[in-house]
């Protein structure tokens, strides 16, 4: 068994790191560079960058940020949000991304995924699936949970695997940002159906939430935002914000500095004690 990958997810809007609830209600938390660097030093296995509003406008604007990050961070970087074409993806790879993920573009055009996978090689293409449940039925969504299509995420994952994607990143939209744990049901269903790696995202609020999922469900990695951000925000808040014009800053203005805690290393130690294989 390979070690479970611990993957911080960094959502970006107007060059700032932001965090929402259910992918909405975005709050500015600081400078993405500071967080990325801190997570790299703390032992993250990979980083995910999401352009939080790109798919609304059809442009991913993370090139600059990725370029300067890739200089100092020598762990894999996965980038997504608003990637619509081979050209878009090429640009992101050239900026220093190692993997990309797609979502809305391939829901709009069912022939695109195969084209992309054939062009760049399966291993580098991840599909992000937003799963959302309503009256005990699961649906697939895009545009950060705004648009819902009547496709079962399990069928969609199976389809994407067949079209040649190398990995699935599954977000449980209704758990996302709440930090109250996640529903293992949908992760379990998908992990039983596919052979490619599955990354679980959405709702992890404690070490125990993570353990509860990974002890039962065969996931290749866990993708975490709030749990890490709200720990690091205490001592990264004094650092300079990238652009201070747009966004909700009230949270940031009202928190006090706290002592540093290496939450990723601590999480790994915790999991290791519980006999989960992690890279330490």
């Amino acid at each position: 068994m390979k070690p479970l990958r611990i993957i911080p997810r960094i959502d970006i809007k107007n060059n700032n790191l932001i965090k929402g609830i259910n992918l909405e209600g975005l709050r500015v938390l600081g400078n993405p560079y500071d967080y990325a660097e801190a997570y790299f030093k703390d032992g993250a296995d990979e980083l995910i960058f999401n352009d939080a509003i790109a798919s609304l406008y059809g442009i991913n604007s993370l090139h600059k940020i990725i370029k300067s990050l890739a200089k100092n961070i020598s762990i894999p970087i996965c980038v997504g949000g608003g990637l619509q074409s081979i050209k878009d993806i090429e640009k992101i790879f050239f900026s220093g991304a190692d993997k990309v993920y797609v979502n809305s573009a391939i829901l709009r055009n069912r022939f695109l995924l195969k084209k992309i996978a054939n062009h760049f090689g399966s291993a580098n293409i991840t599909v992000c699936i937003e799963a959302i449940s309503y009256q005990n039925k699961f649906y697939t969504s895009y545009l950060a949970g705004r648009e819902i299509v009547e496709i079962n995420p399990v069928d969609w994952a199976k389809f994407c695997e067949g079209e040649g994607c190398g990995e699935i990143l599954l977000t449980s939209v209704e758990n996302e940002g709440l930090m109250q744990g996640t529903t293992s049901k949908i992760f379990e269903k998908i992990s039983n159906k596919i052979k490619i790696p599955l990354l679980a995202h959405g709702g992890f609020g404690s070490f125990k939430d993570i353990y509860n999922l990974v002890k039962n469900v065969d996931v290749s990695g866990v993708v975490i935002a709030s749990l890490f951000h709200y720990e690091y925000v205490y001592y990264l808040k004094h650092k300079k914000i990238v652009s201070s014009k747009i966004g909700n800053y009230s949270y940031l203005e009202n928190i006090k500095k706290k002592k540093r805690r290496n939450i990723i290393s601590e999480l790994k130690k915790y999991l290791k004690n519980k006999k989960i294989n992690v890279r330490i």
Partner: protein, 196 residues
């Protein structure tokens, strides 16, 4: 030698950014995008993101294949990383059956389980004097190199099966993982490999 002059084959589908950053900490990096640029190079790096057939078509289109073979035959070090390792072999089947550089005997096959190998693994050195420090390296690939045992330097494991993580035929070396993406361990590995 005062400074290593490292040639880096430029593929159009690859993330060359990270590997270039890391290599420039070791020596002077020269990007190679046409066949005239092979002069004054001590080590050649073939990186890789993309597909076997895509990469080989690219090398043939820009007349880089012959120059790579010439460089390898001169006895200077050639290092292929990930897909760059796979095209060192004779044959690949990704997308369509394609001939490789044939610098090392063998073929590139898809994992039987059809599952991508993504993540960190330790490697098991079975030959050579590469120090095995029990480091973790980052792998991301869905095909692997099937070659003769005497070319295999180190193994890694995926879904219970071993596959070559490092292969070598004299001065030609292939690495399946991404040292440039394997944190500090990866960079120190690359340094050791280039300088030995």
């Amino acid at each position: 030698m005062s400074e290593y002059r490292i040639g880096l084959i430029e593929f159009k589908t690859a993330n060359l950014f990270s590997i270039k950053e890391v290599l420039s900490k070791i020596g002077k990096v020269k990007k190679i995008d046409n066949y005239k640029k092979f002069k004054n190079i001590d080590i050649l790096i073939i990186p890789g993101v993309g597909t076997f057939s895509g990469a080989m078509n690219y090398l043939r289109k820009y007349k880089l294949e012959k120059e790579i073979l010439k460089f390898a035959n001169s006895g200077k070090k050639v290092i292929g990383i990930c897909l760059g390792m796979q095209i060192l072999l004779e044959l690949g089947y990704e997308i369509k059956k394609t001939k490789g550089l044939a610098l090392i005997e063998g073929q590139v096959k898809e994992f039987k389980s059809k599952s991508t190998n993504i993540g960190w693994s330790k490697i098991k050195v079975i030959k050579d004097k590469i120090k095995n420090k029990k480091e973790y390296f980052y792998f991301v690939h869905s095909n692997y190199c099937l070659t003769k045992k005497n070319f295999v330097v180190a193994l890694a494991e995926h879904n219970g099966n071993n596959f070559p993580a490092i292969i070598r035929n004299k001065n030609v070396i292939g690495i399946q993982f991404h040292p440039e993406k394997s944190g500090k361990d990866g960079i120190s590995f690359l340094k050791r490999l280039l300088k030995r």
